[in-house]
Point group: C2
């Protein structure tokens, strides 16, 4: 099983000013590619915290995705934070600098050029939207925080991200969770390789609803468990004499 | 400065099936009350991971908010995880059990009653929506994951959450980040108590835009910094002779 974690860097998320949509985009894209996201964390635009996080956590999963804080203003600290966390130098990347020079022309300045200061040894991730590149170093992919750019960057590298296909089936039930918990326990015992999640939704007019999600790396397990659940829910049937 | 952290428990967030809106709601509600969110983390419905997180992290901030996983199905592990993380027993809470019995009537069963199994010593957080209570223990507030219920629970306890008022002003600029980075550096030097964040947005038709956010516990600092920024951006003015 391939695993990933997502680090979102941004004071604006922590203050509630901005809703983070990047983690959901990445989580779904990774799930579809068979990679399990084990954690998502949001931390401030703080050099020490970013560095510590990278140092302590980057080895914990197969892939690490970082979003936000790679721009050219003083509150953008992710490039340097990743470099410090890995104990490598932050250095002007020639190819990145050339891209920025070409794109900005006479509007280039030292702040914009600063976006080419990247951890030594990284590879660029192109960005056809605003041209300031993201980068990859070790198992860490670092993207811009603007969703449209993040999507474009992910698309550039998505073929490098492969895991084990996951199968998922959903059952929409018009009962409360408490009515099916007993069946879920039986399913959990009979299908140890299955992951079974129950998600209640509230609809005061129409009563309780529950989404039951069956998930496994084997499609057969998903199908068999689903069939078994329906059988359990239908209750004991009378044998014809 | 009062601080908080938010733990979201839920496989459905990590798989991208569901977009977490609870952390944004809490982040904004806490910001408004003058409490700084230092981190948001999403972890799986896993007893060991929840227990470890609580044990390692609950002391790091003034307040800890946990959302999700307090229902009555086998994938709901937050009640037990919090108990384990704090090293206290999970025990049937009499008042919670009475609430559930009264609400469910003849639809009560052992799974539903299981929602009254709570860490010893906790206080209930009432829930007028579905009645299954949240709880508070030490500095940890544990809420349901369904947004409507979480909001209702937060409202019940919000008066306990007080920090230092924060002031925020926003400037919408029709320039790219790279054009104002130089002024931001000056502002950062001149106003050490200010937090200055720059958030670019992309609008291909209308060119670059930047939101510049000024934030501080002193309203004067915010206003002075804002005025100084405008002065810097206007450039040197010619003195009349």
């Amino acid at each position: 099983m391939k695993t990933a974690q997502i680090l979102i860097v941004g004071d604006e998320i922590l203050s509630g000013r901005t809703t983070d949509s990047n983690s959901n985009y990445l989580a779904r894209a990774l799930f579809v590619r068979g990679v399990r996201v084990q954690r998502i964390e949001v931390i401030p635009d703080n050099l020490i915290l970013i560095g510590q996080w990278i140092q302590n956590c980057h080895g914990l999963t197969d892939f690490t995705f970082v979003a936000g804080g790679i721009g050219g203003t003083p509150d953008d600290m992710t490039r340097e934070g990743v470099a410090r966390g890995l104990g490598v130098e932050l250095k002007r990347h020639k190819e990145a600098a050339a891209i920025l020079l070409k794109y900005y022309g006479e509007k280039i300045n030292s702040d914009r050029l600063g976006m080419a200061d990247l951890p030594m040894g990284c590879q660029l991730i192109e960005n056809n939207v605003t041209h300031a590149p993201g980068f990859k170093i070790k198992n860490i992919y670092v993207f811009a925080g603007i969703p449209k750019i993040l999507h474009a960057m992910f698309e550039k590298i998505q073929n490098e991200i492969t895991g084990d296909p996951l199968f998922e089936e959903e059952l929409k039930l018009k009962v409360g969770e408490g009515d099916i918990a007993q069946f879920m326990r039986i399913i959990n015992m009979e299908f140890p390789l299955l992951e079974l999640g129950s998600y209640p939704t509230l609809d005061p007019d129409k009563g309780y609803k529950t989404q039951l999600v069956f998930r496994a790396t084997s499609q057969k397990v998903v199908r068999d468990a689903l069939a078994r659940f329906k059988e359990l829910q239908a209750g004991p049937t009378l044998k014809k004499v």
